[in-house]
């Protein structure tokens, strides 16, 4: 199917200011979309209030509104642009592409849809239909949908009041419980409750912070393994997996705060194929017709039970990572699919020979590690939870996990040149501890069992202090394969250190 000729102008909503959970990855995706759509001859109208973005440079769109991203403001833009198109004598439609500007763009578009503004002005949403967005974003609808296609989901329930929340908690029957507010960014207001008191506090905050006053209370999957799949689909129902990503940190830590590795390292091919099939089933059931989605899975390491956690029916932070990890330009392809192309009609820029329907294959390992800024917020709790707290991330590529992991650690700009052994002392509270010192067990135990920004370095401290693989696994639930890699790095560090004498 060729591109649509009934479209004259495309309105792209950007992501606005950089906040935790929504950073410059949406400048990257928006910039790609602008380029791709103009390449196809469409008139691009853009709204984004963030002046530090490349996409708001005047040459990336015909019409660039550096204006607030609010439903009211976007309606003003729609009215103004329809008048402008009439003046130009344009015969084609004005359409709205809301899937490239993160949660901000999606929420703004959905508000305009619910208020009837889009219908009133005859504006079609491309990329994802409102119905699909609701199915993907509304947790209860999504869960029911997963059950109907035979996929497993965590036991859970939604609540709009604290009373409803208590009922759900009773039904699940055991702590800890996960609380996720609906329609918020990076899980703002969510958390893990280990007891009734914490539950009340987090549930209340979640209901307050959710724009639709809704929270999901869920059985805890703490300690389970977590995976992500980046999927794309076109109008002819072709589906491809762009990238598979494994979280180094088990469930309980927001994926934006987790160390992640691509491709998946610890699943068998059979397990991977099951997850791949499930990903296609999910994107089809939700009905994302064109574009990219991110689907999160969890696997119980004890028995292999696989659960669907959530889906983002839009380009996400992980899409940017997947694009950079594979070389496959997800946002650009998503924009082309949105205007009618099929995956097999779009050429892969990199090979110039294969079409975009070829699933990327990678012969290296990619590691991403989040960058935190807790030193700026001394009064805040530095524990990592389901609410994202990192402010950035570094990525590195190597031929083995060990190579890419150490390259990534030295990319973090925290003064470290790798996992350890670089001579830089460790700051623990107000105390400085020598790089090669053996840390007290009590400190190691605490820092391993509660997820925190320095946990990865405490894996080294633990092995150096004589912990066994099993000890470390029980404290962290990080997959043994990853722990073996770290243990080997620590052993090699000792081999090097032995040369000194």
């Amino acid at each position: 199917m060729p591109k649509r000729t009934d479209i004259h102008s495309v309105l792209i909503i950007g992501a606005g200011p950089i906040i935790i959970g929504q950073a410059c990855e949406f400048d990257y995706s928006g910039t790609q979309a602008c380029k791709a759509l103009r390449e196809e001859g469409y008139r691009v109208i853009l709204v984004n209030s963030n002046p530090a973005t490349i996409m708001t440079d005047p040459e990336f769109a015909e019409r660039t509104y550096i204006e607030p991203i609010t439903p009211e403001c976007v309606e003003k833009i729609i009215v103004r642009e329809k008048a402008e198109m009439a003046r130009m004598g344009a015969t084609g439609k004005l359409v709205l592409l809301p899937t490239l500007g993160g949660q901000t763009a999606l929420n703004t578009a959905m508000t305009l849809h619910r208020q009837g503004v889009l219908e009133k002005h005859g504006i079609e949403m491309i990329g994802a239909k409102a119905e699909a967005i609701t199915k993907g974003e509304d947790r209860e609808t999504f869960k029911q949908l997963m059950l109907t296609i035979g996929l497993d989901v965590p036991i859970s329930g939604t609540a709009h009041t604290i009373q409803e929340a208590r009922q759900v908690a009773e039904r699940i029957g055991r702590y800890p419980l996960i609380i996720r507010p609906g329609f918020t960014l990076g899980g703002t207001g969510g958390g893990i409750a280990y007891n009734r008191e914490e539950f009340e506090e987090i549930a209340k905050r979640g209901i307050d912070l959710s724009p639709v006053s809704e929270i999901l209370v869920e059985e805890s999957l703490l300690g389970w393994k977590e995976y992500e799949m980046e999927v794309m689909r076109d109008r002819a129902d072709n589906c491809v997996i762009i990238c598979s990503i494994e979280n180094f940190d088990p469930m309980g830590v927001h994926t934006g705060d987790s160390i992640t590795v691509a491709p998946i390292q610890t699943l068998t091919d059979k397990e991977y194929q099951i997850m791949r099939d499930a990903s296609f089933a999910v994107i089809r059931a939700v009905g994302v017709e064109t574009g990219g989605s991110n689907i999160q899975f969890s696997v119980n390491p004890e028995n292999g039970r696989m659960i669907v956690i959530e889906m983002n029916p839009r380009v996400s932070r992980s899409s940017a990572l997947a694009s950079k990890a594979t070389g496959f330009p997800i946002a650009k392809i998503a924009a082309k699919l949105a205007v009618g192309y099929l995956l097999d009609e779009i050429r892969n820029d990199i090979t110039r020979e294969t079409p975009a329907s070829f699933e990327p294959t990678i012969d290296y390992v990619v590691t991403k590690i989040p960058r935190f800024a807790f030193e700026k917020f001394p009064q805040a709790d530095p524990t990592l939870t389901t609410q994202m707290k990192s402010v950035g991330e570094a990525m590195a590529i190597g031929r083995t996990f060990k190579e890419s992991f150490q390259k990534c650690l030295r990319s973090l700009e925290i003064g470290r040149s790798g996992l350890g052994g670089d001579g830089k002392p460790w700051r623990i509270g107000a105390e400085m501890i020598d790089d090669r010192a053996i840390f007290p067990r009590e400190l190691i135990n605490r820092r391993l069992s509660v997820p925190n920004a320095e946990r990865v370095f405490f894996l080294r401290h633990a092995f150096r202090a004589g912990y066994s693989l099993e000890d470390v696994f029980q404290l962290t639930k990080i997959d043994r394969w990853f722990l073996i890699q770290i243990e080997e790095l620590v052993k090699f560090e000792e081999e090097l250190a032995a040369l000194k004498n």
Partner: protein, 597 residues
């Protein structure tokens, strides 16, 4: 060292610094030894197809896994652009923006551009932004390999923020041609003694200052200057550990717990200029390109006046372009100082200066001869791509050739507002300080200053209310000025709500105020109750002193958690009143930047 062991270390991802430290040698010696053994990385392609098909986009990574190097050989003149690494507070998208512009501009000028960065979220790490992309850590070791492998002509270190700047001297020592303003000039701006000497020579005032390597010296310096003083470590990034100190006790605490002072890393102690107006200036110059600096050109891109008074980090402050309260005389002084410093530092590229204005005296607070955080904002506001122009200047063009020789003063207002992540960190006080904590920024554009400010607030997800109740509670320092601000809200039709102290002041000024209880008074309802019930539409709450009381922190954090707009400075509150008045009068309209320019 055993060659096989070294090869294994490298293939396990150990950096030269780790190996050198563990084996008891230096990084330089190890690098030399490694090179003598021919042990250097090879570069492989990221090609989507595991080398199944030929790849055309040059996107590379390094590895010590032995095998073919896949870099295509080219012989165009190459410029390396060093990116900013992972985003963090103080170093965000603004610097990536500058790097991308450098790549675009130099590509257009016929150079081959080589981008080095480790941040997957960015446009700079898109494979079609530069001619070659190396997805690599920004360390001396990794960057030198690429520079040498590619035989670059030069490298740009002044666009990626602090990360590449920290590498600049080391790179230069190892034979890298750092183009643009020399690392030596950057050193003058960063070294306290050299910088003061330069200002003395140019007869430009700066706040009185001193240095301290321990608590005792800090106290002596503070007594010489008299409180309040601004203290900070000498290697400052994003205002890290920067603080305004009012008493001996606070200073002692700071020296004991907040910094590690030493003779190599002294703590800087500056006289803090209370109630001064801060101004940020971004300028571009080609002075360094000429044998005779007098032949060069200096152009101010913009002056940005802070809305908050001195003491708020420039990355956190709201700003107005062009300045809205400065006199022509002050503007002329700022222009004179900026030009003088750009010439003295032989700037080739961008330079940012921070000034504090008190009365008619203009003090220099800081000079950074590099791209600053405000460059993209200024470029959008004036309609000229400063980063692109600067890259072309650094590669040898003059501003005259580029046709950018005159200042641009827009006939509309551009307001910058910052956004903060406080809703992620419950319990964290939100008072603005010299330590930067914002993650991002927005821009409000309009022909009316009030509307531009209101748009910026809307965009920052903190829209100004047009009616309702405003809660006002200010510290003793601000009680003198609070009545005027409160009156402007009353005149706009708002009901005023206050706690005891502020209410008394407002009533004395003849204003009608509803009193609510303070948290520590125990009685209900208190301000927090009203906030939670969404009975307040705006909060004006300034700190009572240097160490705020627990109850006021609670009010501020509750405002954040309930999404109630809050102003923590009186100047912010004044701007809010201006914005509300403008919106009430004529609403707002939207306009494209293509129409503005």
């Amino acid at each position: 060292m055993n060659a096989e062991l070294l090869a294994r270390a490298k293939s396990l991802g150990f950096s030269d610094r780790q190996i050198a430290h563990l084996t008891g040698t230096t990084e330089d010696a190890l690098r030399a030894e490694r090179k003598a053994l021919g042990l250097i990385p090879s570069y492989r392609l990221v090609d989507t197809c595991a080398a199944e098909f030929e790849a055309y986009t040059p996107y590379y990574y390094s590895t010590y896994d032995r095998g073919d190097d896949e870099v295509t050989k080219t012989d165009t003149k190459k410029v390396m652009i060093l990116g900013g690494g992972p985003n963090r507070i103080g170093q965000g998208i603004e610097f990536d923006y500058c790097c991308v512009h450098a790549a675009f501009a130099l590509k257009a000028d016929g150079f081959e551009t080589i981008m080095v960065n480790s941040n997957p979220e960015t446009v700079s790490t898109d494979y079609d932004t530069s001619d070659k992309l190396f997805f690599e850590p920004l360390t001396l070791e990794d960057v030198l390999h690429i520079y040498e492998r590619e035989g670059c002509w030069g490298a740009i270190a002044q666009f990626g923020g602090q990360t590449p700047l920290n590498l600049a001297l080391g790179l230069k020592k190892n034979g890298v041609n750092i183009i643009g303003t020399s690392p030596e000039s950057i050193e003058i701006a960063e070294d306290r003694k050299l910088f003061s000497a330069m200002l003395d020579r140019l007869n430009i005032p700066q706040p009185k200052n001193g240095m301290a390597t321990n608590e005792e010296e800090a106290l002596t310096a503070a007594h010489n200057l008299s409180y309040p003083v601004l203290v900070r470590p000498s290697f400052v990034l994003g205002g890290r550990a920067m603080q305004i100190v009012y008493t001996d006790a606070e200073l002692s605490h700071y020296m004991k717990f907040a910094v590690e002072a030493s003779p190599e890393r002294p703590v800087l102690v500056d006289k803090f200029l209370e109630d001064a107006t801060e101004v940020d200036v971004d300028c571009i110059a080609d002075v360094g390109n000429f044998p005779n600096p007098a032949d060069g050109t200096v152009v101010i891109g913009a002056m940005l006046e802070h809305i908050e008074f001195a003491g708020v980090h420039s990355g956190d402050a709201a700003m107005v372009l062009p300045p809205h309260t400065l006199s022509q005389e002050v503007i002329a002084t700022i222009r004179k100082y900026t030009h003088a410093m750009a010439r003295e530092l032989l700037v080739s590229g961008l330079m940012n200066v921070q000034y504090a204005v008190k009365g008619t005296t203009v003090y220099v607070l800081e000079v950074n001869p590099r791209a600053s955080r405000t460059v993209p904002f200024v470029s959008k506001a004036i309609g000229f791509p400063l980063a692109k122009l600067a890259a072309q200047v650094m590669a040898g063009k003059s501003l005259k050739e580029l046709g950018f020789t005159a200042e641009v003063w827009p006939k509309y207002w551009a307001v910058k507002e910052s956004v903060f992540p406080f809703n992620r960190f419950p319990g964290q006080d939100i008072i603005l300080s010299p330590e930067m904590r914002s993650t991002g920024e927005v821009m409000g554009l309009d022909a009316d200053l009030g509307v531009a400010y209101a748009k910026a607030q809307m965009a920052a997800n903190s829209p100004l209310p047009l009616k309702g109740r405003v809660f006002i509670s200010v510290g003793d320092l601000h009680k003198g000025d609070v009545a005027a601000v409160a009156k402007s809200f009353a005149d706009l039709g708002f009901e005023l709500v206050s706690t005891n102290g502020t209410a008394t002041v407002l009533e004395k000024a003849g204003l009608k105020v509803q009193r609510v209880f303070k948290l520590n008074e125990g009685a209900r309802p208190n301000a927090v109750d009203l906030l939670k019930n969404k009975e307040l539409q705006l909060v004006i709450n300034t700190p009572s002193g240097a160490s705020p009381r627990a109850d006021e922190v609670k009010i501020r954090t509750t405002a954040v958690m309930t999404g109630t707009p809050i102003m923590t400075t009186l100047s912010g509150a004044k701007a809010a009143a201006l914005g509300i008045a403008a919106l009430q009068k004529h609403g707002y309209a939207v306009k494209t930047i293509q129409e503005y320019h």
